[in-house]
Symmetry: C2
Subunit: 351 residues, 2 copies
């Protein structure tokens, strides 16, 4: 299953969206619950199944979901569940405790709706680059169409009800995945993360909630969903993301002006390591790919394709390696296959 | 001065002597003092000059020194003094406090006699590989010929007198420079160094007394020179060196059997770093060259010349860089030039 995903040319990691050299992707997620059903955290097997059936039924007749597939997570193999997680299409919770859970997913990976996760519905739309508006248009359309046939839990003066009180209200989370290697290199990143936290925005790692900042990727999202409109949430986040983008651009210019040789040394060493290693962890590979990506943005290296480089950020993850190899790999084997793929895709250097 | 030394094909680092994949070089040093002159540590300027004149005079008529040059160290530039030190032809002491000191040196670098170092004469003969016998033959010949015209300080039942009591007797120090990357990689080296110390042999780093083990090079020499014959000293050292060589060979076989992939990964990464770096310290470069050398010995890489690799061990040193560039380099500049030379000499990799 999902074999074609690896070759999708237009995903959130394609590097084709606006400002995507710094803002890799934009994402909006809406949480919804069915008014007449127990919320997932309190629901038993049968109640969950009822929700699944209801969503499956509605899925068929929703025009905005015409290019999507409805799946029960128990019908998805362990490897494929992990694969979806690595592609940021489902949450860790959806992969680990998959019983009674469902997924609606589009073949271009832009739309994914988790069913019976923390809420009955978690609708995600994700695009390459800085494009929250497009995400909002699509998720809003899906939401509107579904509301015609589903009675969502909603209270006037409060808004949509959710399992976790932090989501009540708009139940909207907007986020952008930023690649901030220059702020990391110049060690300015921590101060910026502090400032972001002070104005009530949240920073997370490459794989979302509770994950580390890997490969200098930082996901910034809104914390507040109550008492503000959807448009305000998106506008506020856009403002913050824009400012961080400017800071990263400043840091890149400063690096080029004051530490060019040092930067070049780092970029070329990362390339040398990736072109020669025989064993490499995903964490180490991500950090070299991040530096390489910066080198490509700044014109230090130019004979590597942006598309190949960006796709490698996912292809070096464990489930991706196994999908590419077409077999289950033991843990020790993965570092070897990962190195092989990196050497293969990044080829020889040409001075 | 010494411009030709860099192109000498048959020095102690040539890798052409017996067992030179592990035992890089063999060296014998004799200390001698002129009976009727103050020893250097107690001599004033005029007394030192007298010794220099005497040696200069004897140098002319000594057949074993026919291809050598007599120099006063004050006539050697600071850069050239450093260059001689890096080539292991003079001691640090001879470079730092060079006044009143002299040097007799052969164009093939095998013979070097320091005048007015700690002793009036420190005669060194050095060869590639495991060849203490050849070193002894030549240094013994020089010593015998000089003794015909110089009255050396000597006491029956004790032997030759020297400034430091640890050298009294034969006044002979024999040493071998061993390259032990596999013992280092497998972390067995410390136990072996402890054992060597227990049986009264001395281990030193790449640049002799008081220096660190760089690039996995270890110089092993005798500690005792009193109450044993020259032949015994050489035989005892040979025995120890042979045993360490066997241990290194065992460690290499073990690595190939049990950690081949890990080793390959290290070798290729070192090559990738050296082929791509833009800034590199001599310490880091030495450690990569050491791993590369092991990789070449074990057939992991094969498209790099042993001669070029070995010559790089010296060419990356500060004075060598400046001789090659033909100008004085500031400290910051050296890391850049060093990286350039390494990329240049190690070229592109061919898979």
């Amino acid at each position: 299953m999902f074999e074609d995903f690896i070759n999708n040319k237009d995903t959130w990691l394609s590097g084709k969206g606006p400002f995507s050299e710094i803002i890799f992707s934009s994402r909006i997620r809406l949480a919804r619950n069915l008014a007449d059903y127990s919320f997932p955290l309190r629901a038993n097997k049968f109640q969950k199944e009822k929700v699944l059936k209801k969503i499956e039924e509605v899925h068929h007749g929703t025009p905005a979901l015409k290019n999507t597939l409805f799946l029960r997570m128990q019908d998805v193999s362990e490897l494929d569940r992990q694969f979806l997680l690595e592609r940021h299409l489902v949450s860790q919770e959806h992969v680990l405790n998959f019983e009674g859970k469902g997924l609606v997913i589009s073949s271009d990976e832009k739309i994914s709706l988790m069913v019976n996760e923390e809420d009955h519905l978690r609708m995600q739309v994700i695009f390459s680059g800085f494009d929250l508006k497009k995400c909002w248009e699509i998720v809003d359309e899906i939401d509107n169409e579904m509301q015609k046939r589903i009675n969502f839990a909603f209270l006037p003066n409060i808004g949509f009800l959710t399992s976790c009180p932090t989501n009540v209200g708009t139940a909207l989370r907007a986020s952008c995945m930023l690649h901030l290697p220059a702020l990391t290199f110049t060690k300015r990143i921590n101060k910026i993360l502090e400032l972001i936290a002070k104005i009530s925005f949240v920073t997370r790692g490459f794989f979302g909630e509770g994950t580390q900042a890997l490969g200098d990727f930082f996901q910034i999202s809104n914390q507040i969903s109550l008492g503000v409109s959807e448009a305000e949430v998106i506008e506020n986040l856009s403002g913050v993301v824009n400012q961080v983008k400017e800071q990263e651009m400043d840091a890149r210019n400063l690096l080029l002006k004051k530490q060019k040789l040092n930067l070049e040394d780092n970029v070329w060493r990362s390339l040398g390591t990736l072109q020669n290693c025989r064993l490499i962890s995903s964490k180490e590979a991500l950090s070299h790919l991040s530096i390489l990506s910066l080198g490509l943005d700044l014109g230090i290296i130019d004979d590597i394709s942006r598309e190949i480089l960006n796709s490698l950020f996912l292809e070096i993850q464990p489930a991706h390696l196994q999908k590419i190899e077409g077999r289950i790999l033991k843990e020790g084997e993965r570092d070897y296959i990962r190195a092989q793929i990196l050497r293969d895709k990044l080829g020889q250097k040409n001075d």
